[in-house]
């Protein structure tokens, strides 16, 4: 009989389809795991409303558990409390940088309008001399930056608060 700890371990083996260096636990997408009436209920939350990876994540969770003979599983989607980049684990931030994606800079952008974009260090050479190319990058959760020293174009996992 599997216990809750084992299910959490298995969730650490499910990767985000769009940022495959992160597990869904690193990303903070798994909210809760509980036993309800003899079946496991896995609660997940989307990073962005339109995140196209959610269906895939749900399927991957079911597949991973089925491979490990965990039966009677349901996956539930909740919106509240809304996901923010604070849910991203420290381990997750380190892995992002190693992968070449700048992790979210812990800086709350209070004014919506006319704020300077945050200073994001280059994930390759650590220079702070970088510029934002576009607020919107290759996926909903990323912005596009370029390093002005080593010229590396890179993705920034943008801060969502």
């Amino acid at each position: 009989m599997v216990n809750k700890e084992r299910i959490w371990e298995l969730m650490e083996e499910v990767f985000d389809p769009e940022v495959p260096v992160l597990t869904i636990v690193d990303l903070g997408v798994v909210r809760d795991i509980e036993m309800v009436d003899d079946s496991w209920k896995i609660t997940i939350t989307p990073t962005y409303s339109g995140c196209p990876a959610m269906k895939r994540i749900e399927d991957d969770i079911l597949e991973k558990l089925a491979e490990n003979d965990v039966q009677n599983v349901s996956v539930d989607l909740v919106l509240s409390p809304a996901w923010t980049t604070d849910w991203l684990s420290e381990n997750g931030k380190r892995k992002l940088k190693e992968y070449g994606i700048a992790p979210p800079v812990d800086e709350v952008d209070k004014s919506v309008l006319f704020a300077e974009p945050p200073t994001v260090p280059c994930p390759k050479c650590d220079s702070k001399h970088t510029k934002m190319v576009s607020q919107f990058g290759s996926t909903a959760c990323k912005a596009h930056y370029q390093c002005q020293d080593c010229m590396e174009p890179f993705d920034y996992f943008k801060c969502l608060k």
Binding site: P52, W83, V112, F136, K158
Partner: protein, 249 residues
Amino acid sequence: MNTLFEYLVRLGDDSLILGHRLSEWCGHGPILEEDIAMTNIALDLVGQATSILKYAGEVEGRGRSEDDIAFLRFEREYRNALLVEQPNEDFGVTMMRQFLFDAYRKPLFEQLTKSSDAQLAAIAEKSLKETKYHLKHSAEWVIRLGDGTEESHNRVQNALNDLWRYTDELFFENEVDEDLRGKGVIFSSEELKASWSEVVEKVLEQATLSIPDNGWQHDGGRRGLHSEHLGYILAELQYMQRAYPGMEW
């Protein structure tokens, strides 16, 4: 009348139709970054529409899914504001339309995070975070184009002149709003309009643009009376489900 259902359909249709409009830019953006930005925003909006219309289906209790509601209604059953169905035209028109809408959506979602309806509050909390990025993006473009060259200034000023007549409708109210306000589900549209005006005036001033003198305003979208453009949008949006009912990818 199920007032909550009616309200959710307004909210969901605004996201759905504007999301569809923005998706038309896919592969046609003026620069690659803007192509990506507009489709990212479209994705957020369609994602919001999915959550909102799914909940609308639950509230209605007739077993309709979000897809049934999005794809299988007739034109008169859509409740989006006329603003969001207006054509993309050039990039300046698209950004002006987006700005007028984002400046309304942000304070609206701020209000709705305090809704007595827990699921609506959760949807608003989630959507607000995305909408802040949308507003920043569209406001900065309105300023850059308005305070740009003579050509860009004239184009966005014309866009503002054309689109201004659709803005009052964003604050449309009828018995639906009255009922829901009484239950603490939604809040004052006067405060909403005040927040909207504050941001709009500030940004337009910085963009050196002037609000048109002509105060005449359209409405109808919230009652299902649309401009001719919606029919063309629906023809494309609904084609697959109408031609191949129940089709899945």
